[in-house]
């Protein structure tokens, strides 16, 4: 475990140094991301000022859903940025070099270059979640449930990314698949209660955006049933298991073409 942490640290450091080579571009990109976050925040505040509630949630609750979405989104992008750079490896056959090294190929493909730009936004986001969460007066159990369901959400996000990598090996298609994933998770920017059936059901169980994002926030507000919690943990474990199986299957289809 410590060996892998050391490797991850080295690869992240390299990614950071390579980012520093273009400081201006990185700064503009970071500013743009913060601006987008700010625009959405302002939108929610003014929207809720005009309507008072959204699908039965008040301003603080709606903001809490939005911040939880951002936390899961930013953490997964910070950890799994390498997925966005995976396609050239497979197309050029350079993935051979990953497979022959004494490091787990999935670990290298998934976490081979953390995104420091996303990392910088995590601490302020956690602070905002802490203060806003406190204003919702949760009990200790609700806070613990929130944290566990948040981890469960990250597990589901990991499963999605592994599935995207696997599909990339089989079809050479990564960019569009990851964009579809981003589009789907963006639907969790607001509580999934705003959607009508059958979309709401699809987003809860088939593409578990609701379980990833909405459910943790609902747990902090004391709005989930014990059955819902069990189902979400089971779904987290099953999705990770299936994604790993799919990865192992995809490796058998890698043809090493162009190498």
């Amino acid at each position: 475990m410590s060996k892998y942490f050391k490797i991850w640290w080295l690869m992240s450091k390299n990614a950071f140094i390579s980012m520093l080579a273009n400081r201006l571009g990185a700064s503009v990109f970071m500013f743009g991301k913060l601006l987008r976050f700010g625009f959405f925040l302002v939108f929610i505040i003014f929207l809720l000022k005009g309507t008072n509630t959204l699908a039965g949630y008040n301003l603080n609750q709606t903001l809490f859903f939005f911040l939880t979405f951002n936390l899961i989104d930013v953490v997964t992008q910070f950890l799994y940025r390498e997925v966005y750079r995976f396609r050239p490896l497979v197309v050029s056959g350079s993935f051979d070099l990953v497979l022959t090294k004494p490091v787990n190929a999935l670990f290298r493909s998934l976490m081979g270059g953390a995104d420091i730009l996303d990392f910088m936004t995590i601490p302020p986001l956690i602070l905002a979640i802490y203060f806003l969460g406190r204003s919702l007066n949760p009990t200790t159990v609700q806070v613990l449930l929130y944290l566990f369901l948040l981890i469960n959400g990250l597990v589901i996000a990991t499963a999605f990314h592994i599935a995207v990598l696997s599909l990339g090996i089989i079809t050479l298609e990564i960019d569009h698949t990851i964009m579809i994933y981003r589009d789907l998770t963006n639907l969790g920017r607001f509580p999934i209660d705003i959607y009508r059936e059958p979309l709401k059901g699809l987003l809860t169980y088939l593409i578990p955006v609701g379980i990833m994002i909405t459910l943790p926030a609902k747990a902090l507000m004391g709005l989930v049933s014990p059955g819902g919690i069990v189902v979400s943990f089971v779904l987290g474990v099953v999705s990770l298991f299936l994604a790993l199986r799919y990865w192992n299957f995809a490796l058998t289809k890698y043809s090493s073409a162009s190498s």
């Binding site: 571009g25 503009v28 990109f29 601006l35 625009f39 003014f46 005009g50 959204l54 579809i180 639907l187």
Partner: protein
């Protein structure tokens, strides 16, 4: 997928069909949502995004040697891209319309339709000038053309043109400031004219401001291009 988010978000806000928020009823806000889908295809789809790459790779040289106007070349490519995207957007809208069955506001007033069409034509020219200006930053910063595009096109234009949410949710003072900028005239203003929320002299006044911005940006483009082309060293060629 984003259309679902926006559609259901506003459907949720207007769950009571008689409700009026920010001057919109359910019919008008959902027309706004679908209108944005179409207008984005007409105004914001453009191939001019590739100009920065051509400059930084040195490919611009190929065009400078040809007896064609570089601006007109890209404008014609933009128009063809818009035609293609409009076709896809029309099919997408039709499918979504069949699935979601939203109430839709049809504008029948010929003067409003004329003002809408005029504002739309100006919006196309305005975006072309704006996008081109952002792209030729690559003359000075060849490595950062993408960053300038991300900031100005993906973030600022998208939000301040009303592409994500209608700008009238903002306080009146902020809206007044926004109307002095070119961004609202890309999507928000034409749609407000279509919906009849801005009409008569107010509409034509807005059209004059957007035409003024288009003219100013085209002049700026010419000026910046002339300065940039002197710096151009065709690196990589």
């Amino acid at each position: 997928m984003q259309i679902f988010l926006v559609f259901f978000l506003w459907s949720s806000v207007f769950s009571d069909p008689t409700r009026v928020v920010f001057g919109y009823n359910k019919e008008k806000i959902l027309t706004y949502v679908f209108g944005i889908l179409i207008l984005k295809a007409i105004v914001l789809s453009a191939r001019t995004v590739d100009v920065a790459g051509e400059i930084s790779r040195g490919d611009l040289t190929n065009f400078l040697l040809k007896p064609v106007s570089y601006f007109k070349y890209w404008f014609s490519r933009d128009i063809s891209s818009k035609a293609l995207n409009l076709g896809f957007a029309a099919i997408e809208t039709l499918i979504l319309f069949i699935i979601l069955k939203p109430p839709f506001f049809i504008q029948t007033d010929p003067s409003a339709l004329l003002a809408f069409a005029t504002s739309l034509v100006i919006a196309v020219v305005l975006f072309f000038a704006l996008l081109f200006l952002v792209n030729i930053v690559a003359f000075w910063m060849p490595e950062n053309g993408w960053a300038a595009q991300f900031l100005f096109v993906v973030i600022i234009t998208e939000f301040l043109s009303g592409g994500v949410f209608p700008l009238d949710i903002f306080p009146a003072a902020f809206q007044k400031v926004l109307y002095f900028l070119p961004f609202p005239y890309l999507l928000f203003f034409p749609l407000q004219v279509y919906l009849g929320k801005i009409a008569g002299t107010q509409a034509w006044g807005g059209i004059m401001i957007s035409a003024f911005w288009a003219l100013v940006l085209l002049l700026c483009l010419n000026l910046v291009w002339n300065k940039g082309i002197r710096r151009y060293a065709a690196e990589g060629r």
